[in-house]
């Protein structure tokens, strides 16, 4: 009999715990509902690095008193999500590392036009051609390499040389990384489709076993000595150095030859969603991003207020980066425009045909 009693108690305890958990959950749910009912709280869907977005939001909240809640996810997943949410999207703003997600939503008519005054802060070639999003910051592609595996003198200087069989087993690529599509598109513009497919096949063979999901992984695997070199945006190396400390960074970076199709600029931008019920407040956030104060947060490396470890090049209001990089004005990228890049779908089609996607 004592058995049954003990069991009875245990089951009662389990049931009670479950009920308590349900109660707690309900409480959490209602608390969340209350805070969002407060009104002037904006929701920012962000594909930008968390620390960069958080530091910008903190400064914006302090300046305007408008609260901003951040939902961080992969920017492309967020673009799909916003498209699925359609006119019922609970988000007000979308902030990305690259332009294709923004171009995709603009094409679907889901973005509001950006205020002309805000657009004017950023050089027009880095804004949406249609005016539905504003360019905030930029990065450039560089070779990241591990000198203990490959000497600087042995590195390719042209992106076409990446497919040379002599680099077999030394190369890492991230074909699904959004930053890779501009390079593929630039290559296509420079050399044509047949040459691009042949080049991609060479990359696939050279990078077998080192095809990674993103630039972070390339940077860290190169640094650990798992693979010799790869192409990434310059800020991954700076971020890695800030994160793990300069003494642990074995990898180095270098530019490709000027105006080579592998030498491109990627733009980070932001937009207000058409579904937002707080259009005016949301526009204020865009204006803040390209203001001198917002741009300086991007430019000043550090973790304190008014700083970030963004390591991107600020684009607007004449602010320049304080990070020890090649100045933005001295970069010599391949001339491919944001409109030519579009949603990146042409690059995706090529990557699919080459069996890399």
């Amino acid at each position: 009999m004592s058995h049954a009693t003990r069991h009875g108690r245990r089951w009662a305890a389990t049931a009670l715990a479950a009920v308590a958990a349900c109660g707690a959950l309900a409480a959490c749910g209602s608390a969340a509902a209350n805070s969002s009912a407060a009104g002037a709280t904006l929701t920012l869907d962000s594909g930008q690095h968390v620390q960069t977005a958080e530091n910008l939001v903190a400064a914006f909240e302090k300046k305007t008193g408008i609260q901003v809640q951040i939902r961080s996810d992969d920017e492309d997943a967020l673009a799909d999500q916003i498209a699925t949410e359609g006119s019922h999207s609970p988000a007000d703003l979308f902030y990305t590392e690259n332009t294709p997600p923004l171009m995709s939503l603009e094409g679907k008519g889901l973005l509001s036009p950006v205020a002309a005054a805000t657009l004017s802060h950023t050089p027009s070639q880095y804004n949406s051609p249609g005016g539905d999003w504003v360019g905030v910051s930029a990065r450039t592609s560089v070779i990241v390499y591990n000198p203990s595996l490959i000497k600087a003198s042995q590195l390719p200087t042209q992106i076409s040389q990446f497919a040379d069989p002599k680099y077999k087993g030394k190369l890492a690529i991230a074909p699904q990384e959004t930053d890779f599509q501009p390079i593929v598109l630039a290559y296509d513009r420079a050399y044509g489709k047949a040459a691009t497919l042949k080049w991609l096949a060479g990359l696939k063979a050279n990078a077998a076993g080192h095809i990674y999901p993103d630039n972070e992984t390339i940077a860290s695997e190169v640094n650990q000595g798992a693979v010799g070199f790869g192409i990434v945006n310059q800020y991954y190396w700076y971020r890695m150095r800030a994160e793990i400390g300069a003494s642990r960074v074995k990898a180095q970076i270098t530019h490709l030859a000027p105006h080579n199709p592998g030498y491109v600029i990627d733009v980070s931008g932001a937009a207000v969603l058409k579904a937002s019920k707080h259009q005016a407040e949301a526009q204020k956030f865009l204006a803040f991003l390209v203001s001198k104060q917002g741009q300086e947060i991007i430019a000043h490396p550090g973790t304190g207020p008014g700083q970030s470890i963004s390591f991107e090049y600020p684009l607007a209001s004449g602010v320049t980066t304080l990070a020890p990089e090649t100045p933005f004005s001295q970069l010599q990228p391949y001339p491919i425009t944001i409109a030519q890049l579009g949603t990146g779908s042409a690059g995706i089609a090529l990557l699919r045909q080459a069996g890399l996607l």
Binding site: A18, G29, A32, V50, A79, H88, M240
Partner: protein
């Protein structure tokens, strides 16, 4: 307690037409309308993601779907996915069964502690396991790395049901076999494995389906499968159509897995004859084999638990400058939400699995069988697909109501992990056959007393295992969570992911450790709650 002698008459005699079924027990001949209705409701809810896939792909048109599926990469992905699934499932079946037998049936020193440590790896996110290994040894990548990491991450899916099954299996058969002169090894393979066969197959089925949907670990290991490609599609094309088309291939693969498991399972009957006071059966003495056995378990725990914990702790102390300073939620907050979501989803799933399991075990019929099997499909669908399905349905039919709220997120978890609960609950219901209820009722026990003293006692370990499996899976879920979590809330997994993708390993690591600790709680409860010695006294 009921006397075993009385029950001897109950078992069916094979070879005679319709013996143990409808003819003997007329109660079961009735159509269980209530059970069917409730189960059908559950099945419909679980079919939502599939419906979403069909809506999305049909919108694209057959031509485009075929073009998406018939491209150069597909064959490569298919082969990668199949060989990985076979290798890891086999590895998990061996590791899980071996470990369960050592812990449940032998005098292995420190069994209670091992029982906890062996389960905990299930709650370490696969991306943490792969990060742990890959950051220590560069050879851990590609197929080799994927097999190693995934086997270590998911073998508890076999261990848990097998351990629960061995714990409540009748030891008499083993003793009879031994007393008749059968060797230990033969007894193990013929009796022990035989008794646990359903649990082993059930666990292996889960492993295979979970592998089909796995994403995080392979991302880091540079191994491409169908699911990594589905995520790539979600991420690249700004149209969920391609991802949905590929997901349908995944559904096809999981149908094959389900069919294979059904064939392997055949028709077995595992019910024991008495709830009884659990008889104290002396554990098998390992003798000289004690040290090798200890060494084997130690290596397993060191690899599955030690490596990820070590790398997490390493990063706490060795990480660089703290980078994220502003508004992130606190550890306590993330912990509370994770535990709350996991507990509610665990209870929901265990309750929802009961009618489906009862229908599957206690009744026969093709339609009912199909209904039960159909619920497994959802496990092979990537979390993001299920998340998008719910986002789609709330947007289309509810004007976005409920979207990104705690209840919808919990429902999403419950849908995703229902099959995990079903395996445990089915094992539980199989242990408590209806005939025992009838005997208990005929002996004058009331309905609730029967439930409490017979059904729940026999079913207990399986139900607890179900709850824990769901709870542990919720703790590590990431992709659907990112989509559906209420704005401003973080779980341990989302917060870990945010720091980790930002390269802030020092700040990510404590969240990994918290996930491991929170997983230790149900694992410990599981180990202790139904410990044999607690019953014996």
């Amino acid at each position: 307690m009921t006397s075993p002698g009385l029950l001897e008459a109950a078992p069916p005699r094979p070879g005679r037409p319709a013996p143990g079924g409808r003819a003997v027990a007329p109660r079961r001949a009735r159509r269980p309308a209530g059970l069917i209705a409730v189960s059908a409701g559950v099945a419909v809810l679980l079919a939502l993601p599939l419906v979403f896939l069909l809506i999305e792909t049909s919108g694209a048109g057959l031509h485009q779907v075929i073009a998406l599926i018939a491209r150069p990469l597909t064959a490569e992905l298919l082969w990668n996915t199949v060989k990985l699934t076979v290798a890891v499932t086999a590895g998990c079946a061996v590791l899980g069964t071996g470990a369960a037998w050592l812990v449940e049936r032998t005098d292995l020193p420190g069994r209670r502690i091992w029982a906890v440590l062996i389960v905990v790896p299930l709650a370490i996110p696969d991306f943490v396991v792969s990060f742990g290994w890959a950051s220590l040894w560069t050879w851990v990548h590609g197929f080799r790395g994927a097999v190693l990491v995934m086997t270590l991450a998911v073998y508890p899916l076999v261990y848990l049901p097998v351990a629960a099954s061995l714990r409540s299996a009748d030891p008499v058969q083993e003793e009879v076999a031994r007393s008749l002169g059968t060797s230990r090894l033969r007894t193990f393979f013929r009796i022990t494995v035989g008794q646990a066969r359903g649990a082993i197959l059930g666990g292996s089925l889960l492993v295979a389906l979970v592998l089909l949907a796995e994403y995080g670990a392979f991302e880091l290991l540079g191994y491409q499968t169908f699911t990594t490609e589905i995520f790539t599609e979600f991420n690249l094309s700004f149209s969920v159509t391609a991802a949905c088309a590929l997901s349908l291939v995944l559904v096809g693969l999981s149908l094959l897995v389900l069919g294979g498991e059904g064939l392997a399972r055949g028709r077995g009957r595992v019910a024991r004859m008495g709830a009884g006071a659990q008889r104290v059966s002396p554990p098998l003495r390992l003798g000289k084999a004690t040290w090798p056995a200890l060494a084997a378990v130690t290596v397993l725990v060191a690899a599955a638990l030690g490596v990820p914990v070590y790398s997490s702790v390493y990063w706490v102390f060795e990480g660089g400058i703290p980078s994220v300073t502003a508004g992130s939620v606190s550890m306590i907050d993330a912990l509370a939400h994770t535990a709350g979501y996991g507990a509610v989803a665990g209870v929901l799933d265990t309750l929802a699995a009961l009618p489906v399991a009862m229908l599957a075990i206690r009744h026969t019929g093709r339609a009912r069988h199909f209904l039960e099997r159909s619920t497994y499909l959802v496990l092979a669908m990537p979390g993001a697909v299920i998340g998008f399905a719910l986002a789609y349905f709330t947007e289309q039919y509810l004007n976005g109501a409920g979207y990104q709220t705690a209840p919808l997120l919990v429902i999403c978890y419950a849908i995703m992990f229902f099959p995990l609960a079903l395996v445990g609950v089915k094992a539980a219901v199989a242990r408590a056959p209806a005939s025992l209820d009838e005997v208990a009722r005929s002996l004058g026990q009331g309905k609730t007393a029967t439930l409490r003293r017979v059904t729940l006692r026999l079913a207990g370990p399986g139900l607890a295992a179900s709850f824990c499996l769901v709870f542990l899976s919720v703790v590590t879920e990431l992709t659907a969570t990112l989509l559906l979590i209420p704005t401003g809330v973080q779980t341990l997994a989302t917060q870990f992911w945010q720091y980790e993708t930002d390269g802030s390993y020092a700040q990510a690591a404590p969240f990994a450790i918290a996930m491991i600790l929170i997983a230790a709680v149900p694992s410990y409860v599981l180990g202790r709650f139904f410990d044999r010695s607690a019953h014996a006294r």
